[in-house]
């Protein structure tokens, strides 16, 4: 390279910027917050394991005479997720690197955790499992009488009355209700009755009489009372669609994809940032009321989350632009209560006056 060519190159490079927009910024922020939360959970679990280890050592010293027993060892509880996780979702990091992300009201207990087996009991709510692939250990989640066996995958389990909804995002799981088994792969979703008693008509819809598409070619029958439901695109594919549509200026399509994330994946922690982006997209479309509603949902979903301050401020501003002064005043007053020294405090004071 000639010297002047060199200078031109350096100048060009000095002004080069990655395509860093608000959406990307938010997405990385959500990743930062999730990583911090995972770290915190790992520290808690490690502390819990250390405490369990200490108890085991003390117990071993005191009971040397009766160490061995032919009876089955009792189930070990080495980590327990919060019974009432925060509205934005709470997560349980497991020693093998897998993670369970709990939606509000969900409850998971670790029944067993060893090198060759992880067993969890999910007793309520919806949980997204991100399981680290490891063929040497089995990973099982039990919901009532239903067991879901995993090798390495990302899937969602939710209680719906007496039924359990299983949705697989990546990989493959095997659902076992004690009588039959069925395998689900990425993008597939099914419901299975999780209690011994039949559900009442008021609680469930009748099973679909049409042939079950999940019944495989090997002749393995689908579970009794299993009803397949239409597959819903994963959060990843909806986010990718929203990004592509947004980049191409197809804002209505982007808004639709983001709205579907909030509708079909309500328990996913990424819904908060999807709602925030939806607010921005709706504002770009000139739909101030829709933007305000999206920002408000974002804030209500996670009032102490990293996007909360911006979301509530944007909601108040958008309500003002939509001509709803009462809502703008009320929301801006809530902002000032929650963030009296916040970045947008001056603007919110102007709106609340």
């Amino acid at each position: 390279m000639a010297p002047d060519e060199n200078d031109k190159t350096r100048k060009a490079l000095g002004s080069a910027q990655p395509p860093w927009d608000e959406l990307r910024e938010q997405r990385v922020l959500v990743r930062v917050v999730e990583a911090q939360r995972r770290d915190a959970v790992r520290r808690r679990v490690a502390g819990g394991l250390a405490a369990v280890g200490a108890v085991v050592v003390v117990g071993a010293l005191g009971l040397t005479a009766s160490l061995w027993s032919p009876a089955e060892p009792p189930a070990r509880i080495v980590g327990t997720a919060p019974r009432r996780p925060a509205a934005s979702g709470s997560s349980l990091a497991l020693a093998d690197g897998s993670e369970a992300i709990l939606s509000a009201g969900a409850s998971v207990q670790v029944r067993e955790q060893s090198e060759d087996r992880v067993a969890l009991d999910q007793s309520a709510g919806e949980v997204l499992y991100d399981v680290r692939p490891n063929r040497a250990r089995s990973f099982v989640v039990r919901l009532g009488k239903v067991e879901v066996l995993v090798v390495g995958t990302r899937f969602r389990l939710a209680w719906a009355g007496e039924w359990v909804r299983v949705h697989v995002e990546h990989g493959r799981v095997r659902v076992d209700d004690g009588a039959r088994r069925v395998e689900l792969t990425a993008g597939e979703e099914m419901r299975v009755l999780a209690t011994s008693e039949g559900p009442s008509a008021a609680q469930t819809r009748a099973p679909d009489p049409s042939p079950d598409p999940l019944e495989d070619a090997t002749g393995e029958a689908s579970l009794p009372r299993v009803r397949s439901v239409p597959s819903v695109p994963s959060v990843e594919s909806l986010l990718a669609s929203a990004d592509a549509a947004r980049g191409a200026g197809r804002l209505a399509e982007a808004a639709n994809a983001l709205g579907r994330i909030a509708t079909f994946h309500a328990g996913d922690p990424r819904v908060t940032s999807a709602l925030f982006t939806l607010g921005r997209v709706e504002r770009s479309r000139g739909r101030s009321a829709a933007a305000a509603a999206a920002f408000e949902r974002c804030w209500r979903r996670s009032p102490r989350g990293p996007l909360a301050e911006d979301a509530i401020a944007e909601a108040a501003t958008s309500w003002a632009f939509a001509g709803d002064a009462a809502k703008a005043r009320s929301i801006s007053a809530r902002y000032l209560e929650s963030f009296p020294r916040g970045t947008h405090a001056a603007r919110m004071r102007a709106l609340s006056d």
């Binding site: 390279m1 060519e5 060199n6 031109k8 190159t9 350096r10 060009a12 490079l13 000095g14 080069a16 910027q17 990655p18 395509p19 860093w20 990307r24 910024e25 997405r27 990385v28 922020l29 990743r31 930062v32 917050v33 990583a35 911090q36 770290d39 102490r304 989350g305 990293p306 996007l307 909360a308 301050e309 501003t317 003002a320 632009f321 001509g323 002064a325 703008a328 963030f339 020294r341 916040g342 970045t343 947008h344 405090a345 001056a346 603007r347 004071r349 102007a350 709106l351």
Partner: protein, 184 residues
């Protein structure tokens, strides 16, 4: 009744206040720090790496490290430089990993240098092809000095080396780039 919205500039808190609040566990303050500096960190990472594909990871790692080490910051007024130093360390590790993979015969392929102006793309790509052949310990200080425009004392601080070492490494990288660009 439609209410007129008055344009009022937001009152931004300075880095020192935000760092103090974040150290007391205020997540909002940490998010404000992120929003203020993430773009800058992304730019530094992008220009040293020469590719966009790992920028998100570097920004994430930088702010996760920052959250853990906030209490160790000596001068909160120099928050941006402190974050840049973390980002430089993270980028350094990634470049070293790339070099190890290359040594093992594993090529990472096209890394997507798509963000430079089209008219400059060819020469920017040519420069990064040369930089890819220079060890990270010489490449990073050179980019900081010659591309980012940092002073040599600042390059030394960001790389965690002495001023003499920083000078020597920038000079060595300059010489290597000159030779490689002439096909030596």
């Amino acid at each position: 009744m439609r209410r007129q919205v008055r344009a009022v500039s937001p009152v931004a808190e300075d880095d020192v206040t935000l760092v103090e609040r974040a150290m007391r566990g205020d997540d909002q303050a940490f998010a404000a720090i992120y929003r203020r500096h993430a773009r800058y960190v992304a730019g530094v990472a992008y220009r040293i790496l020469g590719a966009d594909s790992e920028v998100d990871d570097v920004v994430q790692e930088t702010f996760v490290d920052a959250a853990k080490g906030l209490r160790r910051i000596e001068d909160p007024r120099k928050l941006r430089g402190w974050l840049a130093a973390i980002a430089v360390r993270r980028v350094h590790r990634r470049l070293a990993r790339r070099a190890r993979l290359r040594w093992l015969g594993i090529e990472l392929g096209w890394l997507g240098r798509s963000s430079s102006e089209p008219k400059d793309r060819e020469r920017v790509d040519a420069l990064y092809e040369i930089l890819d052949r220079i060890s990270a310990k010489y490449r990073v200080p050179w980019v900081l000095s010659e591309i980012e425009g940092e002073t040599l004392p600042e390059v030394a601080r960001l790389c965690g080396v002495s001023l003499a070492t920083a000078k020597r490494r920038v000079a060595y990288a300059e010489e290597r780039i000159r030779r490689l660009s002439h096909g030596a």
